[in-house]
């Protein structure tokens, strides 16, 4: 299908939205409410583009490309429209970038900088504050919420928990739990996927550490909690993990569970075991992996010689990968010679 974007002609696939067609071509269109994994909602209006022959600016996340369409993504009219939208958003947003934990990682802040919107010009009534700190892992601050709906859609479409939704209408619209009962009394499973997608500082993890995003670097790693192998980026300040972000370009596609997202404090816990411990004279003593393996192999040989294969039983863990579990049962059946092997997930 042939289209013209910003004066250049391109061939794009049928049935794609204007937004996706542009992004595939490397043309950047700003969005606050779009997520490839979710149904388009057209809530934020920031992705508007100008299409020749159409009277109004259109949200590119919801409009499909058509043959011979002539699209402008950064015309004067479009930029003015986006500035107006950002102005409306920032007019009703607390200007707390100085101390806001999201500062440096906030899409609203980034776009205001990009489009030169330095302050809101519609400064009258502010939203009624609704702050929910009942969940032990994250908090919600309605003053900073831009009602993009990403949290609601992630909870509904991907997590399938449907713990949160919109309440009220118009200026009073708010993200809340059924009967406004507080997150702790809702069906929320604290997976934190809403926190991961929030583009602003409305949903924030309750971090034990104080840090600024520009002081940190991200380190890609595999979650160690189960065998699924979710990929995540540890946000590291100095030598300490201070936050976790799910990887969007891996098999977990931007999702994590409560453990992966929030349970990282053990990493730098002073009581964390960092070497194998061997009991000598009734006391556990730090040792090396070589020593530990030598001890295990020695004991196994000893037991097999004295009591035979059936004296062994193996129980493996869901924290291991499938490959590790396969190897474990292989070792028990082929090396030790017993079928006494089971897995905690079957109990």
């Amino acid at each position: 299908m042939h289209v013209t974007i910003n004066g250049k002609s391109y061939d794009v696939e049928k049935n794609t939205t204007i937004l996706n067609a542009c992004r595939n071509l490397g043309i950047d269109i700003p969005t606050l409410c779009h997520d490839d994994r979710l149904s388009p909602s057209g809530a934020c209006r920031l992705c508007l583009v100008e299409v020749e022959g159409w009277k109004n600016l259109h949200t590119s996340c919801t409009a499909l490309v058509k043959e011979n369409m002539v699209i402008s993504t950064h015309s004067k009219k479009v930029i003015k429209g986006r500035q107006e939208i950002l102005d409306l958003l920032i007019s009703n947003h607390p200007l707390e970038c100085l101390g806001c934990e999201k500062s440096g990682d906030c899409k609203l802040q980034d776009y205001c900088y990009e489009y030169g919107v330095t302050e809101g010009t519609y400064r009258w009534e502010m939203k009624t504050p609704y702050i929910d700190t009942t969940n032990p892992f994250y908090s919600f601050d309605s003053r900073k919420c831009i009602l993009c709906g990403l949290c609601v859609r992630v909870c509904d479409e991907l997590q399938g928990t449907t713990a949160i939704g919109f309440e009220n209408r118009g200026f009073e619209t708010n993200v809340s739990t059924p009967f406004n009962d507080g997150l702790i009394n809702s069906t929320c499973v604290s997976c934190g996927n809403c926190v991961s997608v929030c583009p602003v500082g409305a949903l924030e993890p309750k971090s034990k550490e104080r840090f600024r995003y520009w002081e940190t670097k991200e380190v890609r790693t595999t979650c160690s909690y189960c065998g699924v192998g979710c990929q995540m980026d540890l946000v590291v300040k100095g030598n300490k993990v201070v936050d976790v972000k799910p990887a969007f370009d891996a098999l977990n596609e931007g999702l994590l569970c409560v453990k992966g997202k929030f349970s990282y404090n053990f990493l730098s816990h002073p009581e964390r075991l960092k070497t194998p411990m061997i009991k000598k004279d009734g006391v556990f003593i730090e040792s090396t992996w070589d020593e530990a393996y030598a001890l295990i192999v020695g004991k196994m040989k000893e037991v097999k010689e004295n009591y035979g294969s059936e004296a062994f039983a193996g129980l493996t863990s869901a924290r291991c990968t499938n490959e590790e579990n396969y190897l474990f049962q292989k070792m028990f059946r082929a090396v030790l010679g017993t079928n006494n092997i089971d897995h905690c997930a079957r109990l």
């Binding site: 707390e96 100085l98 101390g99 990682d105 802040q109 900088y113 030169g116 104080r210 600024r212």
Partner: protein, 315 residues
């Protein structure tokens, strides 16, 4: 050089007797906050952020201007100090525009860093604010006096170069401000746009106009490079995003060289695909010019071209 032994926050430090308490603390990894201290500048003691408690003295003392003494016991982060520093930051914020949303300095601003560290925030008040005095006369340096915290670093660094000395303090008390020349615009003043003042400004009062709106401090990567305009090599930073170099900013003079506009422009030309257009001052007015003229290469280029042409004809 004799050494002295002192205790800082319970740690024993053995340092040269010529060091200040602040330097001694930093040498053992204790970061005392400071807005006006810079090791390349003379001690000024303007910002009062580096105050410490020294046992035996009732008064809080500025660690940047107090020399170490044998047996000194110093505390750098007591409740009293935290409270006082919060008050200092609060007073600066009360007179500072709430602009972190789009401020070019956000992410590398010392005032922002200490406001976060000491839990100070902008608050509404009906008292005076520093007047908005934006100086947009220079295509190189953007001056916003409303963000100035009067730390004096720009004045000190400018005065280190004997034939510059353009910046100074003017007025008194709350009206105190930094002026270029005789309270002129950057364009009208004798400023040579060397960027020394921009490189030391801890806040967004003096920023690089050619960096504006292009990249935020937390976006992309920065690499320190040596300037190749002369053989001495002042330090510049090349900021890039993805595979593209976006901008070049002055970082520090070095090896006895003072930083200069020629170096800044040469480094931009070396590292950027499409640097912004160059300007030169002609009779105290900025004029857009060509790169050969901006770098003073016009005559030599003309000669080279002429010689090459002649050589071509001879063959």
């Amino acid at each position: 050089m004799s050494t002295v032994k002192l205790t800082i926050d319970g740690n024993v430090a053995v340092v040269s007797s010529e060091l200040t308490v602040l330097q001694a603390a930093r040498s053992i990894g204790i970061n005392i906050p400071a807005l006006c201290y810079d090791e390349s500048l003379e001690i000024f003691g303007a910002c009062r952020m580096c105050i410490v408690e020294i046992e035996g003295s009732n008064k809080l003392q500025t660690s940047c201007s107090t020399l170490v003494k044998n047996g000194m016991v110093v505390h750098t982060e007591t409740d009293r100090l935290i409270r006082t520093r919060k008050d200092i930051v609060q007073m600066l914020l009360d007179s500072h525009p709430n602009d972190c949303l789009t401020c070019q300095k956000a992410g590398e601003c010392s005032l922002q860093e200490y406001a976060y560290r000491y839990n100070a925030d902008f608050k509404k008040h009906d008292g005076a604010m520093r007047p908005q005095l934006m100086d947009t006369s220079s295509p190189y340096i953007l001056r916003d006096n409303s963000k100035c915290i009067l730390c004096g670093k720009c004045v000190l660094t400018c005065s280190q170069v004997s034939d510059r000395q353009v910046l100074s303090f003017a007025e008194r008390g709350y009206d105190t401000k930094i002026v270029f020349g005789a309270d002129q615009t950057i364009e009208d003043s004798p400023c040579v746009s060397c960027y020394r003042c921009v490189a030391v400004c801890p806040v967004g009062a003096l920023v690089d106009n050619r960096q504006l709106g292009k990249l935020r401090a937390w976006d992309g990567e920065s690499t320190v490079v040596m300037c190749k305009a002369c053989e001495y090599g002042c330090e510049f930073e090349v900021h890039s995003k993805g595979n593209e170099n976006i901008s070049v900013t002055a970082k520090a003079p070095s090896n006895g060289r003072p930083l200069c506009l020629k170096g800044k422009l040469t480094t931009e030309l070396n590292y950027l695909e499409t640097p912004d257009k160059p300007y030169i001052k002609v009779e105290q007015k900025f004029e857009q010019t060509t790169w050969d003229k901006a770098l003073g290469l016009a005559e030599i280029l003309e000669k080279i071209n002429k010689l090459d042409q002649n050589n071509g004809e001879e063959e």
